[in-house]
Symmetry: C2
Subunit: 160 residues, 2 copies
């Protein structure tokens, strides 16, 4: 019985083993970590979008939830805590502010800083959607056993 059924079979053009240069034989897109990461993230965002009732994106939700813990805090530190650069967090905060979920005000002690706080409605939005957010995480990890879920989280943390 051939135990190599999952091997890539023999390449069309044989390459001398010692001097084999990186050939297409050795690179399958669907075996690369980057391709998996992009797809897994896409699936999660898709689940998030379909389950989150109010028109919130993953990053908007992240910013809201983190702001609840950190407030009052500057735009920059909220960005760092939510893994968004300054340009990205600015756009997210602007849209949340326009919807009345976040308050922005200049810092009286440091005129460069923009101080952010949750509005009442912002806090209410978090409260209303917390159980949905938990459901989204559960649904994303549904294909895995409890042990696998823990393992995946640990492995992802190591490569972050």
């Amino acid at each position: 019985m051939d135990t190599r059924s999952k091997d890539k079979s023999f390449p069309d053009k044989t390459v001398a083993p010692g001097q084999a240069k990186a050939g297409a034989d050795q690179y399958a897109l669907s075996e690369q970590i980057g391709f998996f990461l992009r797809q897994a993230n896409q699936r999660h965002v898709s689940i998030f979008t379909s389950l989150m009732a109010e028109k919130l994106t993953t990053t908007q939700w992240a910013a809201l939830v983190k702001l609840k813990d950190l407030q009052p805090c500057s735009q920059g530190s909220l960005g760092r805590e939510t893994a968004m650069d300054m340009a990205t967090i600015k756009g997210v905060v602007d849209r949340l502010a326009k919807r009345g979920l976040v308050n922005t005000a200049p810092d009286s002690a440091d005129a460069r800083r923009l101080v952010l706080t949750l509005t009442e409605e912002g806090a209410a939005v978090i409260e209303r959607n917390l159980s949905i957010a938990l459901e989204i995480s559960r649904e994303t990890l549904k294909p895995l056993t409890a042990a696998e879920r823990m393992m995946l989280m640990e492995l992802l943390q190591k490569i972050c």
Copy 2:
């Protein structure tokens, strides 16, 4: 010995266990799978950008490599194979075509279809950067042992 050392400790406001509604105590952003996935993907893209010499993005590279296997193929099927929707793959292909890496032509058998092929330069770009692409995957997985790498790939595949 307390085996619950990783528990979230006692919440500030005690909630009756039976009727506990989803509270902020139970939801830490930095414990959610979506946050990890977004960050891990960001780190990979960052590694890709810094190591890939020619001005190629992760999705452009994915489209090129997959097209080499599939060519000639329609824009839609290339999109499906690289996990990009029609709007996204169109933008990617347009930019690759403008750079002369991909050829586009209407399908003589089905006038709706756009048939894609690699140009000579497109094939050369793949050849020139294959070893870098492998290096990028290695670098992304560097914090993990060989066993952990395999495990991570399997777990990600399960949730894709």
